[in-house]
């Protein structure tokens, strides 16, 4: 924190103008903190005047003062203000401020505000809290540590995406994640993805509908948490209004570590290393009683009808017979106990032996140091992680260098550069016939995917000898053997990224500073995904290369003017100008049909498709920020931003949005600051109005290369047999709209901060109410218009909620024992008030039988699909209608309806985090718990497993159950009727069902599952309580460190996600099929989550 603030102080020191005519003398001094470290960039001011300066990087200051000057006042964020009488060559020690209210929070565009003055909610997470898990994922480290921040890790795959969201969904089809800002420069957090077996390029972006493919990464994951000094989370529009349209969803403001001069002038070296072992934490339960086959009959590869199912005979009645073959090591087929046999009894295999132990090794080293005028920091980090799924891994190397120097009394410059190289070997997932979980969970318990092997298997597990054809449980088309997938369907994503900033500060006068900050972020992401010959998705083999290039440029000029109007009233006015440019491009190549098996190269293909997409965006803005502080108790901030964006038509591409916030320390007049019980209370009020612009290239229609597909096939893309072809739309089927206007969110926020017992307990509560209007969406239009949708401003969404943060130190003894508690709790109510006129539902992601949609009057992200028919079809709480048609195969079972409706809400009622920290003499124990209450997931995985007969609950196949409900059926017009002796269609439902029906294969395949039955059969509560982290650390006593020539040695053992309590039957309910995109709440053969254990060593030299 301190280091960041130093920089901030340079920008905006409290140096006020004064007269220069009096007789003067020169005073000097050195300022240190409690530990004796020099404090650079600290504001020193002559008492009663506006004369002042800063300390340099060695903590020294020189000041020319009037002869009459008696004392100086010193202020530094996080420290108590001090007043010191002027002496010669003063040495001043600043003490930490228990209340923490003089702390400075870095807000939008790098402007720093005293925490005390804020009229809105902001929360800061320090470096210590960000490097606990050993996963190198900055975003997942924030889970449970900030109220109002929702974090969803899509899967346990190395490098899998993490979806973060503040205060709910505000955009239907656009980005809903907060802006990430590193050292004042926006960082791209895109999802670049291609799903060759499903949605193609539509699996990319915030609104991507990934149903298959490989788990995508959002590029914010590239940041190395070891280089982060702190993260400030700006939650609402009032806090981020100055950032403009990019930060309409809040902002994650990251300040990286900067160097400083060490007290002894030496080079500071920090080193940390962690080793983490991870395993799968939760998997769906499978039955292991019944064999492969159908209708109770065994059948297996390579021929035999019904071998796709696990509806065969009881395994314990079967024996292997014949000689082993390429499919079975036990014998070439199975026979029942009544048949003469010589073979071994059949025993079930455990498909979950497939998973392995993942290992992550994270190493970071940093050097820092400096002189009185300059300082620097350099670091090198390397994370090498393997996943629980064989052959999945993630390797990330980061290099950073930052430096700052004061060139003169007026001019200082700073700069930082970060380089990231990451390589991910990804795994196929989801609705994709190469999906690992799909192949694994449909495998019958009597088929051994590994063919008797364990660990790293050889190719006989998944490839038939001689032919090279695939060995899988169906012995032909169907699903890939998971071992085939991880060996023969490689997906590698390689990222090279550079981002950084340069900044010049010029101290124009005591009351005016000028800052120019320029920075950028550029990366390439090169994805290569191949399918060997014999893969079920691409039997002839295929290769997909997608090269993404993204660059952003950002500049801000800030002019800061300060004035002290009276002893009580201070003012700061900041005028700024921003320019932002974004360029991205995708070059896609698809090679079809390999010649040489196993040679994954474009040259090996026999036909090709290529494509390119380029996008550009420019915005510029003028903004101001006026802060007025009155008598240390009233703080008023007014901001305004006038933005011009290239994504809107020239006639309406310019828009303005304001914010006003007020912070009132209402205890100040009561002089409570020394009160032992209630030290301070503050009220916050704010109003803000922010905009979001339109999608790039959304204004007009174009022709584009023709393609056609249906819901079952990948279809035809052009060129077709060498012929070009074009179709009309933007993109396909979508109508552009030249009249688009910006989306607009207005927000009202009120909060209360209370500090008790000299900050032993502090409570922060915030209520907010946001309304987003003119939300842009692809408004579906009837296909008969010739199009599927039109981009239009139509939606309205509201979010309101409560965020609570409680920090307390219940125990603090003289012996050094301390217990700290930190609680974060938040509740958000989201409502999609309206979509476009006549639009009653909007598809976001998923499948026809399990979709995530937005519907008016309901919260965003409804699970939409079919349900059982109820006695009152419009009342889902009325009894089920039980089929009463005599002789119907469905007799006695609930009737499956064909109409789709909203079935469940995917958003949680509340989320919370609880961190307990215990420390005693260098021993630290931290336990982080996170809770999600409410919200559902559609678990299509279970639905398909029920259909295929592998789910544990299909074990009841030889028993029966009474299906509660009233007897009846639907007539030809869809009315509820029931069967009587005289009238087969007597109106209304009949008597309650009283007969038991078999829970057999018919039931599971037609009624009880969501795969062919109703969507509602697979909706489960995704609530959980988890211990997300446990850390036990030991700081070696300093005398031991010194002997070993270290300044610091810390050893930590930790566990991530060791305990999970949930009723959810699938994998870890923190999961997302669509990855870090808007369509959360889907589980369809998602890759599992993990738990991990590790060791970490921190060294300081």
């Amino acid at each position: 924190m301190k280091q960041i603030v130093r920089l901030a102080t340079v920008l905006l020191g409290m140096v006020l103008c004064t007269s220069l005519y009096a007789q003067s003398r020169v005073i000097t001094g050195t300022v240190k903190d409690q530990d004796g470290k020099p404090l650079p960039f600290l504001a020193v001011q002559v008492k009663g005047t506006t004369i002042g300066t800063y300390t340099d990087t060695a903590g020294k200051f020189t000041l020319t003062v009037d002869q009459t000057a008696k004392a100086v006042t010193l202020s530094y964020p996080g420290m108590k203000n001090q007043e010191v009488a002027i002496t010669d060559n003063m040495t001043i020690t600043m003490s930490n401020d228990a209340l923490g209210l003089d702390e400075v929070v870095v807000g939008a565009v790098g402007i720093s505000y005293e925490k005390k003055s804020l009229g809105y909610a902001a929360q800061t997470v320090g470096s210590d809290e960000l490097n606990k898990s050993g996963t190198g994922n900055m975003m997942s480290e924030l889970e449970g540590k900030v109220s109002g921040l929702s974090v969803v890790n899509s899967a346990g795959d190395p490098g899998a995406g993490t979806f973060i969201n503040l205060r709910g969904i505000t955009s239907l089809t656009g980005n809903n994640q907060p802006l990430i800002v590193v050292d004042g420069i926006p960082l791209d957090n895109s999802i670049n993805n291609y799903d060759p077996t499903g949605q193609g390029a539509l699996a990319s972006g915030a609104n991507g509908n990934l149903t298959g493919g490989a788990q995508p990464t959002n590029r914010g994951l590239d940041i190395n948490p070891s280089d982060i000094d702190n993260i400030t989370v700006l939650k609402g529009p009032a806090a981020t209004a100055l950032y403009g349209l990019q930060a309409a969803n809040g902002a994650i403001v990251i300040n990286t570590k900067k160097g400083s001069k060490n007290s002894d002038g030496s080079l500071g070296i920090e080193f940390n290393s962690s080793l983490t072992w991870s395993t799968v934490n939760k998997l769906p339960a499978e039955q292991n009683t019944y064999a492969q086959g159908d209708a109770g009959q065994w059948s297996g590869p390579p021929t035999g009808g019904g071998r796709k199912f696990s509806w065969g005979p009881a395994i314990d009645t079967m024996y292997w017979t014949g000689t082993p073959n390429a499919y079975f090591t036990g014998g070439n087929s199975m026979v029942g106990a009544h048949t003469a046999h010589t073979g071994a009894a059949v025993t079930p295999f455990n498909p979950y032996d497939f998973f392995t132990t993942g290992i992550a090794n994270d190493n970071n080293i940093a050097f820092s140091g400096g002189t009185d005028k300059s300082s620097f920091r350099m670091s090198l980090g390397n994370l090498s992680q393997t996943g629980v799924i064989p052959n999945s891994d993630y390797r990330k190397t980061t290099f950073t260098a930052t430096g700052q120097t004061a060139l003169s009394k007026r001019l200082s410059v700073s700069a930082g550069i970060n380089y990231v190289n990451s390589i991910t070997d990804k795994v196929q997932q989801g609705s994709n016939i190469s999906s690992v979980m799909l192949g694994l969970l449909r495998t019958p318990p009597t088929f051994d995917n590994s063919r008797g092997q364990s660990g790293t298997v050889d190719s006989t597990a998944y490839m038939l000898p001689g032919t090279g054809a695939q060995r899988d449980y169906r012995g032909g088309p169907g699903y890939d053997n998971p071992y085939w997938t991880v060996n023969e369907n490689p997906f590698t994503s390689a990222v090279n990224r550079v981002y950084g900033f340069g900044q010049v500060n010029y101290h124009l006068a005591d009351w005016a500073d000028l800052t120019y900050r320029v920075g950028g972020d550029a990366y390439s992401q090169d994805d290569k995904n191949a399918y060997n010959i014999g893969s079920n998705a691409f039997p002839a083999g295929a290769i997909f290369i997608n090269d993404y290039f993204n660059s952003q440029f950002n500049s801000d000029i800030l002019l800061t003017l300060k004035r002290k109007f009276s002893d009580k009233l201070n003012g700061t006015l900041i005028l700024g100008q921003n320019f932002f440019q974004l360029n991205n491009s995708v070059r896609s190549m698809q090679g079809n049909a390999f010649v040489i098996p196993g040679f994954f190269d474009m040259s090996n293909a026999t036909s090709y498709n290529t494509g390119e997409a380029e996008a550009e965006k420019r915005t510029s803005a003028l903004y101001f920020d006026l802060q007025l502080a009155y008598a240390n108790q009233l703080y008023l901030t007014i901001t305004g931003r006038d933005e011009t964006t290239s994504t809107l038509a020239a006639s309406n591409d310019n828009f303005f949005y304001p914010s006003v916030s007020l912070g009132w320390v209402f205890t100040e007049p009561l002089k409570l600051s020394t009160n032992k019980t209630f030290s301070l209370g503050k009220l916050r009020l704010s109003y803000a109005d922010v905009g979001k612009d339109a999608p790039i290239q959304g204004l007009q229609n174009y022709y584009h290369s023709a393609s056609i597909l249906d819901g079952f096939t990948t279809g035809v893309t052009f060129p077709f047999n060498g012929m070009a072809g074009y179709q009309y739309g933007n993109p396909q089927f979508v109508l552009g709209n030249a009249g688009l206007t910006p989306e607009n969110t207005t927000s009202i926020e009120a909060g209360l901060d209370l500090y008790f017992f000299q900050n032993r307990v502090n409570l922060s509560a915030t209520y907010y109410n946001e309304t987003s209007n003119n939300v842009i969406l692809q408004v579906p239009v009837p296909y008969s218009t010739g199009f599927g949708a039109q981009l239009a401003n139509a939606g309205e969404i509201t979010n309101n909620g409560i965020e609570l943060t409680l920090n307390a130190t219940p125990v603090k003894t003289k012996s050094g024992f301390q217990w700290d508690i930190s609680v974060n709790w938040s509740h958000n109510t989201n409502e999609v008030v309206k979509l476009a006129p006549g639009v009653n539902e909007l598809f976001i992601a998923g499948f026809q039988g399990g979709a995530i949609e937005a519907l008016p009057g309901k919260s965003f992200g409804q699970i939409y699909g079919t349900d059982y028919v109820h006695v009152n079809p419009n009342d889902p709480s009325s009894p089920l209608l039980i089929d009463d048609i005599p002789g119907d195969p469905g007799y006695g079972y609930p009737i499956v309806g064909s109409k789709s409706s909203a079935l469940a809400n995917t958003l949680p009622n509340w989320i919370g985090g609880l961190t307990n920290t215990f420390s005693y003499k260098g021993i630290n124990l931290g336990v982080v718990m996170t809770v999600r209450e409410g919200g559902s997931i559609w678990d299509g995985t279970i639905g398909a497993m029920e259909y295929f007969g592998t789910a544990a609950q299909t074990d009841n196949r030889n028993s029966s159950a009474l299906f509660a409900g009233d007897m009846g059926h639907l007539d030809g017009s869809g009315n509820v009727v029931h069967y009587t002796a005289g009238n087969p269609n007597a109106l209304g439902a009949g008597a309650a069902n009283s007969t038991h029906e078999a829970t057999n294969e018919y039931y599971w395949q037609n009624v009880g599952n969501s795969f062919t039955g109703p969507t509602s059969a697979s909706i489960y509560d995704a609530s959980y309580i988890r211990i997300s982290q446990i850390n036990l650390g030991y700081d070696l006593p300093s005398r031991i460190c010194r002997k070993a020539h270290f300044t610091k040695i810390t050893l930590t053992v930790f566990a991530n996600n060791p305990v999970l309590w949930t009723k959810y039957p699938g994998v870890d309910p923190e999961t997302s099929l669509a990855g870090p995109a808007n369509g959360q709440g889907l589980d369809y053969f998602n890759n599992p989550g993990t738990k991990s254990y590790g060791l970490r060593l921190n060294l300081g030299l």
Binding site: G305, G306, G711
Partner: protein, 477 residues
């Protein structure tokens, strides 16, 4: 003084910020133009796209739904297993509807605008004939659909539904206009189709035959009133007139030939390799039984069996479709074909017309139809002769029975074509609903897609009550 200087520089900086802001508007607007998509295209690139899309749609959901409904194929897995039992939801026809409106007809509409403006007669005529063909296919599946107000984009967001009978008349008019336009093609025309016309290589005369074949089909559909068991001789006459003006041999067939490249493969090939939910040769559940359709072909010793059905394929592979329809086969260079209308169909139409009162010898047409169908598949002449000498070679002497016999044979010739379903609806060869028919009777129409019900209130009077049985298409009443 020093203060003044600072003040001036502060003002200067502020002024600079505002200057930077007032950049040229084009600096922004130019950035927002898509450099990867053209604003204008040629008629040629639209025509190819329309033809491929039409072939893919017809050979895709349309073909699958129709062939399962009349039991030429068997849905054995996933959604297709439901369809097999006639259980469709309003979501199921979305792709078929959407593909026709967005991929085919919208772009055909754009082609008509483009060719009309440029005065390119042949492109204009071909666009009209393709529109007529699309309309006929859509009406056969849904009856009343939007047309006169359709394809307008934002110009009309809720196109009204036009009456199905009126749309048939519209299709007829489009055919006539198309023929006229093609015949009026001039050397001075801007652009003339060539290899971009993947059906006929830009030969206008072939398109005229195609238009007549479509007219023959449209008229024969209206040649019988089921409710009163009445033949409409005038319609039968018209059908025969246009049949005579139509194809002269199987070489004239209107069809889309798909490609060997993965992304150019025929729709059935893609479905069978990517989904494998439908069987042709065997019924998975009762393996190794043949499907009822195969059983009947084998029973009648139909020599087309081994061409239409790949009985060597694994029973669970979901394949079993002959390479003619779903190439490329693993060992042959064949590419899959989607037939739009054929010489064989024209012969059967002629036979039906004769049986319904038009002047002509039904048996001659019937024999020519069978011969054409078999020849095209590659059946040796001797086998054709044997079959024709058998019980199915001669039409029943009772006209009403002969119509059904003719329809059954035509249905085989139209294997996997949606037209086979229309034939069954009109002529009703005996067909019992499949065993697990929770959905009830064999569908007589498609359900309206949910999106149209939701988004186009004009559809509501129809769609809220439409089932898979009613309202029947006007010619199916």
């Amino acid at each position: 003084m020093k203060n003044l200087k600072t003040y001036i520089s502060a003002v200067a900086v502020t002024a600079m910020l505002f200057t930077a802001e007032s950049c040229q508007k084009s600096f922004y607007t130019k950035a927002n133009v898509n450099p990867n998509a053209p604003n204008h295209v040629t008629a040629a690139t639209l025509l190819t796209g329309i033809q491929v899309s039409l072939g893919y749609a017809r050979g895709g959901d349309f073909s699958r739904f129709c062939s399962m409904d009349i039991q030429q194929s068997v849905g054995v897995s996933r959604q297709s297993q439901s369809y097999e039992n006639y259980v469709y939801t309003n979501q199921d026809p979305e792709s078929a509807w959407d593909n026709m409106y967005d991929d085919v007809m919208e772009n055909d509409y754009q082609l008509l605008l483009l060719a009309g403006k440029a005065g390119d007669h042949e492109y204009y005529g071909m666009g009209q004939i393709l529109m007529a063909y699309s309309l006929q296919m859509m009406v056969d599946c849904w009856g009343s659909i939007p047309y006169s107000q359709a394809f307008q984009g934002t110009g009309n967001m809720q196109p009204k539904f036009d009456n199905d009978k009126a749309l048939y008349d519209t299709a007829v008019a489009l055919c006539y206009k198309g023929i006229t336009n093609i015949n009026n093609a001039k050397a001075t025309d801007n652009a003339t189709p060539g290899s971009d016309d993947i059906m006929y290589g830009g030969v206008g005369a072939q398109w005229v035959k195609f238009a007549h074949a479509l007219l023959a089909r449209i008229y024969i559909h209206q040649s019988y009133i089921k409710s009163t068991s009445t033949n409409v001789t005038a319609m039968a006459d018209s059908a025969l007139v246009h049949a005579n003006l139509s194809y002269g041999s199987i070489a004239d067939d209107a069809q889309i030939v798909f490609g060997v490249a993965t992304n150019n493969n025929a729709p059935w090939y893609q479905f069978n390799t990517q989904r494998a939910d439908i069987e042709f040769a065997y019924v998975d559940y009762t393996s190794p039984d043949y499907t009822p359709f195969c059983d009947s072909l084998l029973l009648e010793k139909d020599p087309r069996f081994s061409f239409m059905i790949d009985s060597t394929t694994e029973p669970v592979s979901g394949d079993g479709l002959g390479a003619f329809y779903d190439g490329p086969g693993s060992s042959s260079p064949l590419t899959g074909v989607v037939e739009l209308s054929t010489y064989a169909e024209i012969q059967f139409i002629s036979a039906e017309a004769a049986l319904r009162g038009a002047t002509g010898v039904a048996q001659t047409f019937y024999t020519a139809g069978i011969t054409a169908s078999m020849t095209k598949l590659g059946v040796p002449a001797a086998s054709i002769a044997t079959y024709l000498a058998g019980p199915w070679g001669t039409l029943n002497v009772v006209a009403s029975k002969a119509v059904i016999q003719n329809a059954w044979e035509e249905g085989i010739a139209l294997f996997t074509s949606p037209e086979a379903w229309s034939l069954w609806r009109r002529c009703e060869w005996p067909l019992t609903p499949t065993t697990n028919n929770a959905g009830g009777s064999i569908p007589h129409r498609f359900l309206y897609p949910q999106s149209e019900i939701n988004l186009n209130p004009n559809s509501l009077p129809l769609s809220s009550s439409a089932t898979q049985q009613t309202p029947a298409i006007f010619w199916d009443k």
